[in-house]
Symmetry: C2
């Protein structure tokens, strides 16, 4: 028996060994980010041989599309450091630039992918950020399912959130279909969008009805997110074919049929909502108009409005007529939100004029900022509490 213990002491020392070696390896002895009590944040990177270390963060102002950068300062022992001002409660993303090379923080494994780039995450509590945090509340189930789309003749992948209690109850739930933007896929809303956390927190607070959220892949030529289909580990791109050519709208009933035959859901129009961001807002606009009696709740988050002029599809014919029909059929909520600096603002204003002209009721929310996940996360916390009430 004694020999077993000796061997296990070896096992214990193994993990210590591995730990200290990993420290050399992954920078485990560096604390970064360090969130201070007053919500300033210190970022650190061990890079003794670097000439310049910068921090790119989505809260740092900039002139163009890219987030701004701050310069880190070299401190003792080869550690570079930068401390922000006080950050409002929110979920932020960042990365380092070490002599121009994009580097994820080795002291922070919490990363998220936005199309073809990975970012580290840091969450500041005490306000809006609390919606995005995993809190000590009942948690729903998040699943990745495959379904067959007869319209696209493909097996395709989607993400589904079912609220806590779904498995134990015999209740039927309403369904919220939630669509991603250009370059996104069925992973976007559950990762960048923090959908599970937002729903868990809103439902636990009694601010939202328990509901199922279906997050499909809106790129009709794709079966699944990069790396999740037989295509293999390819690098994602914004440039996908067939993203706004009518096929997503036409074949959307395949997703509804799968959902309604697989999950315990309520199946009336009054129990269906659809929303999306950017291209997903475009899809939501046209799906809800083309299938003009399918949804009682429509959300357009920073939406694109019209297809490219070389696109021909029956979906985009009779635009105004189908809007009028949707209006006549009636709905509970048609909700549009956009950031004041969004490059799609003019298109959205023109669309609102059109809705006013045909007397189609909608609600409108304008926020700060532009075409950003911060806005789309916030729109979720505004839109979801309005559903199915």
């Amino acid at each position: 028996m004694k020999k077993f213990f000796v061997l296990l002491l070896f096992f214990s020392s193994y993990s210590v060994d591995l730990f200290s070696q990993q420290a050399l390896w992954g920078g485990n002895n560096i604390v970064s980010p360090e969130i201070h009590d007053d919500n300033r944040v210190t970022f650190r990177l061990h890079a003794p041989n670097a000439d310049e270390v910068q921090l790119s963060g989505d809260w740092i102002p900039s002139e163009g599309w890219m987030p701004g950068t701050e310069n880190l300062e070299l401190k003792d022992d080869g550690v570079w450091e930068f401390t922000t001002g006080v950050l409002p409660s929110d979920l932020y993303t960042y990365f380092f630039l070490v002599d121009g090379v994009r580097v994820l923080d080795p002291a922070n494994v919490h990363v998220v992918r936005d199309v073809s780039n990975l970012f580290n995450m840091v969450l500041i509590e005490g306000g809006q950020g609390d919606y995005y945090k995993v809190r000590d509340v009942p948690h729903g189930t998040v699943s990745r399912h495959w379904y067959y789309s007869p319209g696209l003749e493909k097996n395709r992948r989607l993400t589904i959130y079912t609220p806590q209690g779904y498995e134990e109850s015999s209740q039927h739930y309403p369904v919220f279909y939630l669509l991603h933007g250009m370059g996104g896929d069925e992973e976007a809303w559950i990762s960048l969008g923090r959908t599970a956390q937002i729903l868990d927190n809103l439902i636990a607070a009694g601010e939202a009805e328990p509901m199922i959220v279906v997050m499909p892949n809106g790129n009709v030529h794709q079966q699944a997110a990069p790396g999740q289909s037989a295509v293999g580990f390819y690098q994602p791109t914004m440039r996908l074919p067939q993203t706004m050519d009518g096929e997503m709208e036409q074949t959307f009933p395949d997703i509804i049929r799968f959902t309604e035959s697989t999950f315990r859901v309520k199946t009336g129009k009054e129990s269906r909502a659809i929303a999306g961001l950017s291209m997903g807002g475009f899809h939501s606009l046209h799906i809800s108009r083309y299938h003009e009696n399918m949804f009682d709740y429509v959300g357009l988050f920073s939406p694109a409005i019209m297809p490219n002029e070389n696109v021909t599809s029956p979906v985009y014919d009779d635009f105004e007529q189908s809007l009028n029909q949707q209006n006549e059929n009636g709905y509970e909520l048609y909700w549009i939100a956009i950031g004041e600096d969004d490059f799609l603002m003019d298109a959205v204003e023109e669309y609102r004029d059109r809705l006013d002209r045909i007397q189609m009721p909608y609600e409108y929310m304008e926020t700060e900022g532009g075409h950003t996940w911060k806005n789309w996360q916030q729109y979720m916390t505004e839109f979801v509490p309005r559903l199915f009430k």
Copy 2:
């Protein structure tokens, strides 16, 4: 109407703009890794200001615990490059070291976390690697569920794989409980372990029975993987309390009760398998012995054998008596596998001697290499086809 099109042209040009800017940002115009027809692989990184760029890869031999490194060579335009020899079909992980700073490949978003470090993945097809690839076969569903453990008085998270067809059929399935190692959590087997791909591929080939795989969190003091509980975005560590103190073994029936009351499963001993790697092998050994009539299939992958000598728990009393009882109760398969260079080899040899001494039947497999995910992935492809037949 014309104005809409003009706006949408702006929208189109936006994505082009963003794409080219992302190229500057994320290195999208660099192809890395590039897998050649003969299974050599070229790695590339744009780092014009670097003095030294190295590649760390888990196929590169080394003296110690860490994978070896190769030096990249500076080519034109600030791009560093290295081409491997021919790599056998498998799933490999790697990262760069740029002047000593750990850098993930910006041209490859396919990353995986091992405890506190992120790695890029590259998959070489045409052999063993084909088990780990998403292939054009029917796909099961992967879910993250929360359950309540009365024994641990905690809500806890686990990962579940249900085979393709589960949702549509009324069939009951056998269950395979699959446990992670030290520093791991309920994400380890589904990400690093490629469990969903292995099961999809084995089931589609008719090599394995359709089954449910339950991947719990074996760290009893944790509710969930780092970032997935109310603790927030903390940095993972190998050093967790209470990992091998008997509590996991004692409270394991909570996980079985949850599974058997939530999913359509067969509930006899003949329909339960348990296996795990390293600490999870330890847990599997002791769970199957302590609850000595619960599993017909037991798999110990590079297992630790005995607890630290300062641990006291009723689980580890009457060790040999309970093994004898397990033996007497009978089982279909007791399967042990380990790499020839594994630091746990002596402990496993001693344990096999003990099993021989008490005439407890088992099967044994020895592979090349050490305490690695390559071995554990391979053991899955060997063990799973043996279950429930």
